[in-house]
Subunit: 262 residues, 2 copies
């Protein structure tokens, strides 16, 4: 699916009357096929967060050709959400556990004026940011690290180790785009990374402080949580059938030992 | 200025109660500076058309540093419109007549599903378009031509000759972007070009028919007028002070004679 998250209270279904992504999709399915279903997603995006391509899994008893499903559901869905593609999967497929990677994009508008054409999908940060410093700060985050400092205090993931495969910063005029790819993400991790890199760009903290934040494992040392509106779930990756997300623990331990020794 | 044209009834001020770009800017100026002004623009964009960078000229008796003007006006403007920059110009500057070129962008969403993240700034054309055919069709439009077939029937411009300096078609996934640069444009010219190229992409007309449309000079032979929502005024170019838009007539006549001889 793709959706503009501005007017949604996040992915996960809530009480009646709260407009959520899952609730809206399930309602469209019910209207089209007369079947109550549960829409399982790879990621429970927060209120205001967008998705360019979010996979959703639905178990159904109806035999509908995927093409008809796309066209049919879209006629029942409001204009800020759409099904882009549909496909049959095997019964063993798990939309969450089988994901081997995700890519998020965080957009910033910089300079003296907010950009009306980007206002729904970008965060306005007044003034100029030091782009080179932000890139230097971002480089510290790439790799297998303990991201305990970069998760919401409410996050309950048992492990805080993640493999951040890449961070790319791109600039086009006043628009700055942060593209982050990793095996999985902690709650608010990308938004805290964005907030931290903005602090670096504003020269409130030096780029090297980012490495200290990682080692400190303390949420209060990292930057603010950047607003939801700037965040877009860009893509979720799946490996060959049966692959599960997670890290190779030998690789991880070797890396952690090197980091500690260094 | 930049604005999301979705909720504006075009640039030009209309009766009270109609939400226009000029009216909104003039109201913000009046509130900030207590001065009634007329906002002159390079282009009178239609209802629903957007602008990434539209120059606007205002004569004022107030001495306000341009930086303060940007920040001040933006606090009085709604979030779908903003002043990006401000600068003093000489009294001789004319925002419309001094423009030596303009660039417009027309965006299309193709494929089986509309794209919610692009819904405000792109036109959804269901199905696949033949990209190579569209490029071949577009190539016929580049150069100095009589664009009589590519203007709104209401257009009253005395001359229909324009120099279309370049047309670029780019594709990124389901999003197709048409970028058109020229010395000046007739009313609805870019939207009729977009509609015509979509007909070519759908194989309703062959690419070479575009050349015939130009020569025929008949509005009914060109394609439909593509919807306003897909159109964005991207940039307006100014030459050295005093330069006026328009064509070198010797160059034009030579070109037209060659075209007729061919």
């Amino acid at each position: 699916m793709q959706f503009d998250g501005t007017d949604f209270a996040g992915y996960q279904r809530q009480a009646d009357g709260v407009r959520t992504v899952a609730g809206t999709l399930e309602a469209a399915w019910l209207r089209m096929l007369g079947e109550p279903v549960v829409a399982r997603s790879s990621s429970r995006t927060d209120s205001g967060v967008h998705a360019r391509r979010m996979p959703v899994l639905i178990f159904t008893d109806r035999l509908v050709p995927p093409g008809n499903l796309v066209r049919g559901l879209n006629t029942f869905l409001p204009d800020d959400i759409a099904v882009l593609e549909a496909a049959d999967v095997t019964a063993e497929f798990e939309v969450r556990a089988d994901a081997v990677g995700k890519r998020y994009v965080y957009r910033l508008m910089t300079g003296e004026a907010r950009l009306p054409l980007w206002r729904r999908v970008a965060w306005f940060v007044r003034g100029e940011l030091d782009f080179a410093a932000m890139q230097a700060g971002a480089a510290h985050l790439v790799g297998i690290h303990d991201f305990a400092a970069f998760r919401a205090s409410s996050c309950t993931a048992p492990s805080t180790i993640r493999n951040l495969r890449s961070i790319e910063l791109a600039r086009e005029g006043a628009l700055l785009t942060l593209t982050v790819e990793g095996n999985a993400f902690l709650h608010n991790m990308v938004r805290i990374i964005a907030g931290t890199l903005v602090d670096v760009g504003r020269k409130r903290v030096p780029p090297d402080a980012v490495a200290q934040m990682l080692l400190g494992r303390d949420r209060v040392r990292a930057g603010q949580t950047a607003p939801a509106q700037g965040l877009t779930l860009d893509e979720v990756f799946y490996g060959p059938h049966g692959a599960r997300q997670g890290l190779d623990y030998k690789e991880l331990l070797a890396h952690m030992n090197v980091a500690r020794a260094g």
